[in-house]
Symmetry: C2
Subunit: 411 residues, 2 copies
Amino acid sequence: MSGVRVSPERLWSRLMEMAEVGATPAGGSNRQALSDDDRAGRDLFVGWAERAGCSIELDPVGNLFARRAGIDADAAPVVLGSHLDTQPTGGRFDGVYGVLGGLEVVEALNDHGIETQAPVEVAVWTNEEGSRFAVSMMGSAVWAGVLALDEVRAITDRSGVSVGAELDRLGWAGSAAFAKPLRAYLELHIEQGPILEASGSSIGVVTGVQGIRWFRVTLEGFPAHAGTTPMDRRRDPSRSLADALSGLHEMASAHAPQVRLTPAMLASEPVSSNTVPGCITFTVDLRHPDAAVLEGLDAELRARVADAAAAHGCGHRVEVINDCAPVVFDDECVQAVESAAQRCGFAYERIGSGAGHDACHVALTAPAGMIFVPCQDGLSHNEAESIEPEAAARGAEVLFHAALQLAGTAP
Amino acid sequence: MSGVRVSPERLWSRLMEMAEVGATPAGGSNRQALSDDDRAGRDLFVGWAERAGCSIELDPVGNLFARRAGIDADAAPVVLGSHLDTQPTGGRFDGVYGVLGGLEVVEALNDHGIETQAPVEVAVWTNEEGSRFAVSMMGSAVWAGVLALDEVRAITDRSGVSVGAELDRLGWAGSAAFAKPLRAYLELHIEQGPILEASGSSIGVVTGVQGIRWFRVTLEGFPAHAGTTPMDRRRDPSRSLADALSGLHEMASAHAPQVRLTPAMLASEPVSSNTVPGCITFTVDLRHPDAAVLEGLDAELRARVADAAAAHGCGHRVEVINDCAPVVFDDECVQAVESAAQRCGFAYERIGSGAGHDACHVALTAPAGMIFVPCQDGLSHNEAESIEPEAAARGAEVLFHAALQLAGTAP
């Protein structure tokens, strides 16, 4: 990496130091949202940010912004960020990398004495993972107006503790405005998938995020004695299940490679091995980057389930339990990332994100974009999550150049 | 019913009186094995049996025999029986009908002053249902030597109370010998299936009981992110499940109508709607009256599961978790039942039993047979279980004539 501005060593050592907060025996981290470990992680970050000259502010849902002033005090900031909370058996990079990558940009600006026109802020969104409090991307959702603050404060964990109680206990319920105007938002993240690794690209220029729709499918038969009921007198939902799963996978194949279709959470009632199931349920996670195609797939899914049920005398229900529209990132942000990758001389490709990120919410109110770096075997949400130090440095370097272009320098 | 010997009114009123012991709000009975209600039910029966002149004995596992003496005091008895324990939300007839039907035969012999060569006994087997103590047909299994007494005494219910402790508390651990020689055993039972009702037969002459083999099937994929993992890089066990279920139902169709195949207890791991399942499990209840055919179906099941797994890069395991060989009832017993049905002028048919009964165990050591009567909609193990009073009387009448033929009268 010629002409490198960020410090690969500082970035890597901070990633490793942060990983020790809530470290797990298998080499990952456990800093679930609004826990004492989450606070300890943030405190570590805030110490670094303050020593880098940043001022800190919190909004009412605990989203934290570390601000490096710009030449134009009134300009909308360029915000770089992600999250510090983790899955219970999380890795060292998911989220953390975007926050410490943003901080590294601030450090590099300081190192090189660069003043930007617009302020540069590093954002730490509250509860991205949704493990302890079961709403993922919670902080950015409230910030962007997708969820109401009151609603979110009332959410409780398994022991009955609420988000609101934890925000108050931690002193994280600040007063910064939600959805303030941004010049741009950039989120640096590990890919969490195998595409960049397979193609040998160092950088993924993220063009958008797939639309995600979750369905709960119920197939209703009639519970009957497994021994005494002749086969031709049964309404057995396992027959409809076979047809439905075959049909849904056939649909996915017909829309390859952009569609993602995942049946999961299979269950049957009654829990008895000698009774024909009265009911079989499963979920379907359906994703596509194009909203119109996703609508078409939704309709086809319902038709295939209905046919599979009817073919064996079963009833059915299809409910949508989660729905996130596809996100297309801002042209200028995507261009800025692509230009930065070119300028650095890194192999890159345009890529869609398969997973949701805080950037999806921010994109509702501000120009936003993302940068991906490859991670080993595409593994994430796993303590074995791993990236190369060089890969981490390349991503931060691209973030630096893209942020600099968007924030502008002295005329 | 011309020349009827049994009393339809007495039989029906006793069935209804017994149903009040442990009566449930929805019209069924709850007399789980070795409970106070089970004792109350037995006490009611013993009172009737003693007033009919029977002597009572218990064996060490609580099986109860009410004996009406024969002309030949040394002759092996003809035993008529079933069970008085019920499912937690059991019906009024499952088991009870066979016991009170047997008692009605004794009453009819008394009413008509008939002496039999062989003694006639009414058997009440302990814990046929296996609801509270999870071994079904428990008493008859110990009697026939299929299970050891010590092993069975150690079985506990959910609150930790053992079979042994309950047998001692109730005073049911008697000293009668297990597996004593029997002239014949006949069990009168509701069909618990829809076949007799559909064909209009009043009597099922039961020729045997299907072999039952339970399998646990595991399909192993690789857990992966539902959004970031391209479809062609997955090992998704839901694809293997679709193929396996289709294949197994295809196999069942090819062996219609005698095979019974029931996939049940479906579950997947992890319990996450946005992760490709790492593992899907289900059970298969497979039944056939012919042991050789059942072996062939076992092999085909394994082959089809293996193919379904391999086709999608998944692993698999097939374990047998329960195995009961088919039972073919004794020719003389079957003939005696058939002759009795003919003599009574009832529409009858030969039929296999889809469910297991105490007669399966008794058949291991003695000539045994069964008589079925139709039940409404084939419904059983349900508080709504229902039979017509006339159907109940017909079954008891056939039992009477068959028992009389087997026990023999004065020369």
